[in-house]
C-alpha cells in the first residue's frame, strides 16, 4: 500500500487526537482495519466540540485520501446490504462499503452545520467544501459521454440545504461561504441548489420561518454575477480539460439560473422587512443580471401598489424597467402623485425618493398641469416638514417651476382677482383634476415666515423672478438635522453676540409668559 497522501502524525497531548491518529493510520494502512472507520465516525457524534473538531479533521484526511486513491465505489450506489451479501468481488464490496461510510460521514457533517459552536460549523463547512472539490476532481459517477461535465450536485445541495437552515440565523457562516462564491462553478451550482432548497422548504412547510427567509435572502443577495461576458473559467473544481460546450462556461446560462432563483424566491409571500430589503437592492444587483428583467414587472408593480415605504422602494426598480426595458406603465405619475404624503419627509428613504422624483419630473415634455400639481402638492406637504427636508424640497419646487415655464403662474399671476378659497383640491387623487394650475403657491409665502433663517431665505426665492440655472439638489438630499445644527453652530455671526435686554427674573420668566402660564416649578 502506498503511503497516504499528505498524512502526517501530529504529536498531541489530547488522547483522542492520538487515538484518532492511530485509527486513521490503521485504516489507511491496511484494508483489514477498515472497521476502525466506525470508531472515527462514532467520535463525530460526540458531545465535546473539541473531539468533534478532531474527528472532522480526521475524517477530512481519511476520505480525502480515499477519494484521491479511488477507493470509493464509482457509479450508482447499490444498497449496502445487497452489496455486502452479493457475490461480487471483495474489492468491490469494500469500495461500496467505504462509499457508504463516506456517505454517512457527509450526512453527519451536514448536520454539524447546525451545531451550536461556530468553530465546528466553520470546520464542517470547509471540510464539506474540500470534499466537493475532491469529488469533483475524482467523480463518483461515471461520465455518460466523453467530456461530460460532472459536479457533486448531491453533496453540494446538502451543503446549501444546511446553510439555509429554518431554525438558525446563519449570516456569519454565509459570509464565510461568500468566499467560495467567487468561483464561477460554485456560484452556478449554489444558485441551482438554492432554487431547489427554497422550493423544497416551501413545499414541506406551510408556514416558513422568518429565519429561513433571512438566510435565503443573505445567500441570494450574496450572489453577484459579473457584468460583462467573459471567459468563465475560474472554477473551484479543477478539471483536466474544460469544454466550451458546458453550460457553466456561459454567462447566459448563469443568468437564466440567477433569474430562476430570484423568481422562485420572490413568488412566495415574503415578510415585509424582507420585501423592503429586496426592493432596496433590486435595481442595483438583481435587475441588471436577469435574463428577462421584464419578468420582474409583476413583482414590482404589485409592490408599488402596496403603498407606503414599499412603494417608494419599488419606484427605483420600476424606473429601471421603464427606462431601459420599455415598460409602459399606465398611471405612473398618478401613482407617484399618490405617494406624496406628509410622512414622505420623515421616512428613511427620503433622499432616494426625491432623487428619483427629480429624475421623473426632469422631462420637459410633461404636461404643465401635472408639474403644477406636483409642485402644489409638495408645497402643501412642506407645511408639515422639518427644516432639513424643507431646505431640500423648496429648491426642488423652484426647479420644477424653472423647468416648466408654463407653471410659473403658480408664483406669478398678474392681473388676477382675489379668490375666496384655494382652488387646489388636496384630496383629489388625479393630478389632472386637482386644479393646481389655477392656484398659487401660498404655502411658500407662509414658509417665508419659517423660524429657520435658511428655510426662510429659500422660500423667499419666489419673490423675485426665478433665475435661470437650476439649483442642484443633490447635495441637499442627504442633509440631516444634525448637519444643519452643526452648520448653524459653526457659522460666525456678528460680534458681539446680541443679548436679551429684559433682565431675567426666574426660570419661567414673568407672570404673563407662556411657560409660566402653563407650567409651574413644583
Amino acid at each position: 500500500v502506498p503511503d497516504g497522501g499528505g498524512m502526517e502524525r501530529e504529536p498531541g497531548p489530547a488522547g483522542t487526537r492520538r487515538a484518532l491518529g492511530r485509527l486513521l493510520e490503521a485504516v489507511l494502512g491496511s484494508r483489514g482495519e477498515a472497521n476502525a472507520v466506525f470508531d472515527i465516525l462514532a467520535v463525530l457524534q460526540s458531545e465535546d466540540q473539541e473531539e468533534i473538531q478532531e474527528a472532522v479533521r480526521t475524517c477530512s484526511r481519511l476520505f480525502g485520501a480515499m477519494l484521491e486513491r479511488g477507493e470509493l465505489f464509482v457509479g450508482p450506489l447499490p444498497p449496502e446490504g445487497a452489496a455486502i451479501t452479493g457475490s461480487r468481488g471483495a474489492m468491490r464490496k469494500y469500495k461500496v462499503w467505504m462509499r457508504h461510510r463516506y456517505h454517512s460521514c457527509c450526512n453527519r457533517l451536514g448536520e454539524l452545520l447546525a451545531h451550536f459552536s461556530f468553530q465546528v460549523k466553520e470546520l464542517a463547512l470547509s471540510t464539506l467544501m474540500k470534499f466537493v472539490q475532491l469529488e469533483g476532481m475524482h467523480p463518483l459517477e461515471k461520465p455518460k459521454w466523453e467530456g461530460n461535465y460532472l459536479f457533486p450536485r448531491r453533496l453540494f445541495k446538502l451543503v446549501v440545504g444546511g446553510l439555509l437552515s429554518t431554525e438558525e440565523d446563519h449570516s456569519l457562516l454565509l459570509s464565510q461561504f461568500r468566499e467560495y462564491m467567487e468561483y464561477d462553478d460554485i456560484r452556478y451550482h449554489t444558485m441551482q441548489a438554492a432554487t431547489d432548497v427554497v422550493a423544497q422548504v416551501t413545499n414541506l412547510h406551510s408556514e416558513v420561518s422568518l429565519t429561513f427567509w433571512n438566510n435565503a435572502f443573505t445567500l441570494l443577495s450574496a450572489v453577484s454575477l459579473p457584468h460583462q461576458e467573459r471567459n468563465l473559467s475560474n472554477f473551484y473544481v479543477s478539471h483536466i480539460e474544460s469544454s466550451d460546450k458546458w453550460k457553466i462556461a456561459h454567462l447566459k446560462e448563469h443568468r437564466k439560473v440567477f433569474q430562476a432563483m430570484w423568481l422562485s424566491f420572490l413568488k412566495h409571500k415574503l415578510p415585509l422587512s424582507l420585501y423592503k430589503k429586496v426592493l432596496v437592492i433590486a435595481h442595483d444587483s438583481i435587475l441588471p443580471h436577469l435574463a428577462q428583467p421584464t419578468l420582474m414587472i409583476d413583482f414590482l408593480s404589485s409592490a408599488y401598489d402596496l403603498g407606503g415605504a414599499v412603494s417608494l422602494l419599488a419606484l427605483n426598480g420600476l424606473f429601471v424597467l421603464i427606462h431601459k426595458h420599455n415598460l409602459e406603465y399606465p398611471d405612473f405619475y398618478r401613482k407617484l402623485y399618490g405617494l406624496l404624503e406628509p410622512s414622505i419627509f420623515h421616512v428613511k428613504y427620503r433622499a432616494r425618493f426625491f432623487h428619483l422624483a427629480d429624475l421623473f419630473l426632469s422631462s420637459s415634455h410633461l404636461p404643465a398641469y401635472l408639474v403644477a400639481a406636483f409642485a402644489k402638492r409638495l408645497a402643501r406637504l412642506a407645511l408639515t416638514a422639518p427644516p432639513e427636508a424643507l431646505l431640500m424640497v423648496l429648491p426642488f419646487i423652484c426647479n420644477l417651476l424653472r423647468r416648466h415655464p408654463a407653471c410659473r403662474v403658480l408664483v406669478h399671476r398678474p392681473q388676477a382677482s382675489e379668490l375666496d378659497a384655494d382652488p387646489y383640491d388636496p384630496v383629489e387623487e388625479d393630478p389632472a383634476k386637482s386644479r393646481a394650475l389655477e392656484s398659487s403657491l401660498w404655502e411658500l409665502q407662509a414658509l417665508q415666515h419659517h423660524y429657520h433663517p435658511e428655510v426662510s431665505k429659500a422660500a423667499s426665492v419666489i419673490n423675485q423672478a426665478l433665475s435661470v440655472p437650476e439649483v442642484s439638489i443633490a447635495p441637499l438630499l442627504e442633509l440631516t438635522a444634525y448637519e444643519l445644527f452643526e452648520q448653524d453652530l459653526k457659522k460666525k455671526g456678528p460680534e458681539p453676540v446680541p443679548l436679551e435686554f429684559i433682565p431675567a427674573q426666574g426660570l419661567l420668566g414673568r407672570r404673563d409668559d407662556l411657560c409660566a402660564q402653563h407650567f409651574r416649578l413644583s
Binding site: 407662509a446 415666515h449 419659517h450 433663517p453 440631516t480 444643519l484 419661567l508
Partner: protein
C-alpha cells in the same frame, strides 16, 4: 527706373534731413540707404548718409587726438602753456591783458601773507579759538614755556627755517630802512633770540601780576561775603520753619488748585424724566431687536467705514480715551470715591448687604428707578457699572425670594458663611462649594464668588468668571437631573447666569453652544443606532429655557438661538412619545418653541404636527381622512391612546391646573384618578397652545391649509363627549377662531425685477505691437532686453571705432615709414651722387695725371 528711384530717394532724403542736407548739396557725396518697404509711422534716421563728409570728419578728429597721442607716446615731458586765455579766442587781446595783469596782482598779494600765520588768520583747537584758550589758560599753563603756545612769530620762523628768501629780503629791507645799514646773519639771529627772551619775560611778569590780582580779589570777596552771608542763612531758616506748618489758607488754596474740577453733572432727574429715559432706552433696544428680527442688517453693519481723520497716519494708533474721572455727584454723594470704597470694602460687603436689605422694603421702587441707570452703564462699560449696581440688585433678589419667611435664614447664612471664595477651577469644585447648603446659602456663595473675582480686581479674574458661567451651567444641569429636581435653586441661579452672560456674552454663548452640541450629539448617536431617540432629561429642557432667557429669541439668525431652535425641532420630530412623562416634556418643548417665536411670529411646522399628535392621542383611535399623523406619532399602536381618560368620573372632578416641571423628570401618579387628571391637564395645555398658534398664524397666507387637519381633529374631540366642560369650551372657541380667520387668496406676483441695463462697451486698450521694439513679458524683462540690446550696439560701435583707429594708426605708421624710406633713399642717392662725383673727379685727376 534707377534714375527715378534715385530722385525719389533724394527727395525723401532732403525732406527728412532738412537743414544739414541743404548745406551740402553735392549730389555726388550723398549715399542713399534704400528701404525695402515703406512703413508708415516709422522714423528713419539713417536713410541718407554723407560718407565722404563723415569720413573726413573722423580723420580730422583722429589726427587731432589719436595721432597726437601716438606722436607723444614716448615723451614724458609736456609743455604746458599756462598763460591765461592763451588759447581762448573768445576773449579779446586787450581784455586778456587786463585779466592777466589782475591775476598777477592778486598772486602777488596772496604770496605775501602765506607764511604769516599770526597776522590775520585765527587758529582753532577743537573749534575754539586758540587765542581765547591762551587767554583763559594762562594760570593753568603757568609753568609751561612759551613754545607750548603753538604760535610762532613770523620773525622766528623766518629766521629758523629761512625758506622764504623774499621774506628775509623784505625784513632786511625794512631794517635797512630803519637803520640804514645792513646786518650780518649772525647778528640778526642774536637779535631775534634776545627779542624772544624779552617777550617771554614780559609775559611771565604779566601772568604773575594777574595771579596776584585774583588772589587779592578773592580775599576782598571773602570779606564782603561775610557781610552777605549774614543775610542768606536767615531766609533759609524761615523757609524751613514754614514748610512743616503751612498756613491753613494756603493749604486750602493749593488743594483747590490741585483738586479735580467739578464738571457740571446732569441734574438729578425727576421721576417722569427717568421713566421717559427708560422708555427711550427700551424703544431703542426694541428697534435694534426688530432690525435683527427682520435680518436686514447683515450686510449693513458689517462694513461701516469708521471716520478717519485727515491727519490719521494709518498706523492703527488710537489715542487713548480721556480716562480721567470727572467729579460728579450722584444721590447727593460724590461719585468718585464710591469705586475706591467699593474696592476696599469688598470683604465687608456682607454688612452692607444687610443694611441694604433693611431698605429692602422701600427698595422695591428704588430698584425700578435704579434699573435703567445700571443698564445703560452695562452697555457702556460693564466693569464700572456692575459694581455699583450689583450689590443692591443681588441682595434684593434673595430678599424677594425669602419674602415667605426665609429672610431670617438668609441673614443667618450671611453671617455664617466666609466672605471670600476662590473662583472654582472645575465643576467639581463648585459642586463641593455648593452642595449641602441651603438655597439662600448657595446663592450667596455664587454671588460672593462673583464679587471676589470681579474683573476689575485682578487680571485673571475675567477668565475665572467666564469659566464660572460654564460651571454654573453644568451645575444647573446637575440640579435638574436630581430626583426631585431643585428647580427653585435653578430659578434663582438663572438671575446670576443672566448677569454673567451680560458681562461675558462671548464665553456664555460658547458654553451654551457646547451644552447644546453635547445634547444633540448624544441624540444623533441614538438615532443612528436605533432610528429614533428618547426625549432627553429635564436638564436639556432647562438649558433651552435658559437660552431663551439669556438671548434674544426673535433674531433672524442668532449664533445660539438658531441651533437651539433646530434642537427643539429635533426633539419634536425624532423622539416618540412613550409615556405621560414624555407628553409633559413634549408640551414644555412646544411651549418653549412658541415662546421663542412669540415676538417674531415665525411659523413652526413641527409644532403644529406635535400638537396634532398630542390631540390625537387624547381621543379613541379611528381612521379618518381629514388629517395625517407624522413622526413621531403613529396612528395606532401601544401609545396611541396615551391621553385618553379611562374613567368618565375623573373628568368631572378635574380642576384645571398648570403642569409641574417635576413631572418631566419623574412622574409617578399614585392613583388612576391622578393620572387621568394629569392627562386632562396635558390636553388643556395642548389646546391652549393650539389656541395661541391659531392666533399667531391666523394671518399666514395658507393658514387654512395649515389648520385643516387640526380642524378635523377638533371636531372629533367635540364629538367625543367624554371631555370636561372646560375643555369642550376651549375646543369650541378654537374652532370659532379658526373659522373667523377669513382670508382672501391673492394670487402671487413676483417683484418686478430691475431692467437689465444695456451692456456698454468700453474700449479695451491694447498695447500696440511695434516692430523693432522688444516685446517682453513684463517691464523688468523689457528693460533688461533693452539694456542688452544697447550694450550690444555700443560694443559693436566700440569695436568698429577701435578697428578704425588701428587702421588709421597703421596708415599713419605706413606713411611715416614711407617718408622715412624716401628720405633715406634720397640721402643714399645723394651719397652715391657725391661719391660718384668724387670718384669721377678722382678718376679725372688720375687720368689727368696719367696724361701728364
Amino acid at each position: 527706373m534707377g534714375k527715378a528711384k534715385a530722385v525719389r530717394a533724394r527727395r525723401t532724403a532732403s525732406g527728412a534731413r532738412g537743414a544739414p542736407a541743404r548745406v551740402c548739396p553735392n549730389p555726388f557725396e550723398v549715399k542713399v540707404n534704400r528701404q525695402k518697404f515703406q512703413i508708415l509711422g516709422r522714423k528713419t534716421r539713417h536713410d541718407v548718409g554723407l560718407p565722404g563728409v563723415s569720413r573726413a570728419r573722423a580723420i580730422r578728429k583722429r589726427t587731432q587726438t589719436l595721432l597726437k597721442e601716438y606722436r607723444e607716446r614716448d615723451k614724458s615731458n609736456v609743455f604746458r602753456d599756462k598763460r591765461f586765455g592763451e588759447y581762448n579766442s573768445n576773449i579779446s587781446p586787450e581784455e586778456k591783458m587786463m585779466k592777466r595783469f589782475a591775476l598777477e596782482q592778486q598772486r602777488h598779494h596772496e604770496k605775501k601773507s602765506i607764511y604769516n600765520l599770526n597776522e590775520d588768520e585765527e587758529l582753532t583747537h577743537y573749534g575754539q579759538s586758540l587765542a581765547d584758550i591762551e587767554r583763559h589758560n594762562d594760570i593753568v599753563d603757568s609753568d609751561s614755556d612759551a613754545e607750548d603756545r603753538g604760535t610762532l612769530s613770523a620773525e622766528l620762523t623766518a629766521a629758523h627755517f629761512g625758506g622764504g628768501s623774499r621774506l628775509h629780503v623784505k625784513t632786511s629791507q625794512q631794517e635797512g630802512e630803519e637803520r640804514g645799514k645792513p646786518k650780518s646773519r649772525k647778528e640778526l639771529i642774536e637779535e631775534l633770540i634776545a627779542k624772544s627772551k624779552q617777550e617771554k619775560r614780559d609775559r611771565q611778569t604779566q601772568r604773575e601780576d594777574a595771579l596776584e590780582l585774583t588772589e587779592k580779589l578773592d580775599q576782598d570777596w571773602k570779606e564782603i561775603q561775610a557781610l552777605l552771608s549774614h543775610k542768606t542763612p536767615k531766609s533759609e531758616s524761615r523757609d524751613k520753619k514754614e514748610k512743616p506748618k503751612p498756613d491753613a489758607y494756603d493749604m486750602m488754596v493749593r488743594e483747590l488748585g490741585f483738586e479735580m474740577k467739578a464738571q457740571p453733572s446732569n441734574r438729578m432727574r425727576t421721576e417722569e424724566e427717568l421713566a421717559h429715559e427708560e422708555q427711550e432706552r427700551l424703544q431703542r433696544l426694541e428697534a435694534e431687536r426688530l432690525r435683527r428680527m427682520l435680518g436686514k442688517d447683515e450686510d449693513e453693519n458689517t462694513k461701516k467705514p469708521k471716520h478717519i481723520s485727515a491727519d490719521d497716519l494709518n498706523d492703527g494708533f488710537v489715542l487713548d480715551k480721556d480716562d480721567r474721572r470727572l467729579l460728579s455727584y450722584k444721590d447727593g454723594k460724590m461719585n468718585v470715591e464710591e469705586d475706591v470704597q467699593d474696592k476696599q470694602s469688598q470683604e465687608a460687603s456682607g454688612d452692607e448687604g444687610e443694611e441694604d436689605e433693611g431698605e429692602g422694603s422701600s427698595g422695591e421702587d428704588l430698584e425700578e428707578s435704579d434699573g435703567p441707570e445700571s443698564h445703560s452703564d452695562l452697555e457702556s462699560g460693564v466693569e464700572s457699572g456692575e459694581e455699583s449696581e450689583n450689590p443692591k440688585k443681588d441682595h434684593q433678589s434673595p430678599g424677594k425670594g425669602s419674602r415667605t419667611g426665609g429672610q431670617r435664614a438668609g441673614k443667618a447664612a450671611r453671617t455664617e458663611l466666609p466672605f471670600t471664595f476662590a473662583a472654582p477651577e472645575s465643576c467639581e469644585e463648585l459642586r463641593s462649594l455648593l452642595s449641602g447648603r441651603s438655597m439662600e446659602e448657595q446663592l450667596l456663595v455664587v454671588e460672593r464668588i462673583q464679587k471676589c473675582n470681579h474683573p476689575s480686581l485682578a487680571a485673571g479674574n475675567k477668565a475665572k468668571l467666564e469659566k464660572l458661567f460654564g460651571f454654573l451651567l453644568e451645575y444647573v444641569g446637575d440640579l435638574a437631573t436630581n430626583d426631585p429636581p431643585d428647580l427653585r435653586v435653578i430659578d434663582k441661579l438663572v438671575v446670576q447666569l443672566y448677569n454673567l452672560c451680560q458681562m461675558f456674552p462671548e464665553s456664555a454663548s460658547d458654553s451654551m453652544k457646547f451644552v447644546l452640541r453635547d445634547a444633540m450629539h448624544e441624540m444623533e448617536e441614538m438615532i443612528e443606532t436605533k432610528g429614533r431617540a428618547v426625549l432627553p432629561g429635564l436638564d436639556l429642557l432647562i438649558y433651552l429655557k435658559i437660552v431663551g432667557l439669556l438671548f434674544p429669541t426673535s433674531d433672524f439668525w442668532h449664533p445660539v438661538v438658531t441651533p437651539a431652535l433646530v434642537c427643539m425641532s429635533q426633539l419634536l420630530t425624532k423622539c416618540p412619545v412613550l409615556s405621560l412623562q414624555d407628553v409633559v416634556k413634549g408640551l414644555f418643548v412646544c411651549c418653549l418653541f412658541l415662546e421663542f417665536v412669540s415676538l417674531s411670529q415665525r411659523f413652526i411646522p413641527e409644532l403644529m404636527n406635535y400638537l396634532l399628535g398630542i390631540l390625537y392621542i387624547g381621543i379613541p383611535n379611528k381612521q379618518s381622512p381629514g388629517y395625517a399623523l407624522v413622526r413621531p406619532f403613529r396612528a395606532r399602536g401601544k401609545n396611541s391612546q396615551l391621553l385618553l381618560v379611562s374613567e368618565r368620573e375623573d373628568a368631572a372632578t378635574w380642576q384645571r391646573s398648570s403642569l409641574s416641571l417635576c413631572w418631566a423628570s419623574g412622574l409617578t401618579a399614585q392613583t388612576a384618578t391622578e393620572a387621568n387628571h394629569i392627562r386632562l391637564s396635558c390636553l388643556a395645555v395642548g389646546l391652549s397652545l393650539l389656541q395661541r398658534c391659531v392666533r399667531l398664524y391666523g394671518t399666514l397666507p395658507s393658514f387654512h391649509a395649515i389648520a385643516s387637519p387640526l380642524h378635523a381633529l377638533l371636531m372629533e374631540h367635540l364629538a367625543d363627549c367624554s371631555h370636561p366642560h372646560e375643555l369642550q369650551e376651549l375646543c369650541r372657541s378654537i374652532l370659532t377662531e379658526m373659522g373667523n380667520q377669513k382670508q382672501l387668496y391673492r394670487p402671487l406676483i413676483c417683484e418686478k425685477s430691475k431692467p437689465v441695463p444695456l451692456k456698454l462697451f468700453t474700449p479695451r486698450l491694447v498695447k500696440v505691437l511695434e516692430f523693432g521694439r522688444k516685446q517682453g513679458s513684463n517691464k523688468e524683462e523689457q528693460e533688461r532686453k533693452r539694456l542688452i540690446h544697447k550694450h550690444k550696439r555700443e560694443f559693436k560701435g566700440a569695436v568698429r571705432e577701435i578697428r578704425k583707429d588701428n587702421q588709421f594708426l597703421a596708415r599713419m605708421q605706413l606713411s611715416e615709414i614711407m617718408e622715412r624710406d624716401a628720405e633715406r633713399k634720397q640721402k643714399v642717392k645723394q651719397l652715391f651722387n657725391s661719391l660718384a662725383t668724387q670718384e669721377g673727379e678722382w678718376k679725372a685727376l688720375k687720368r689727368k695725371k696719367f696724361k701728364k
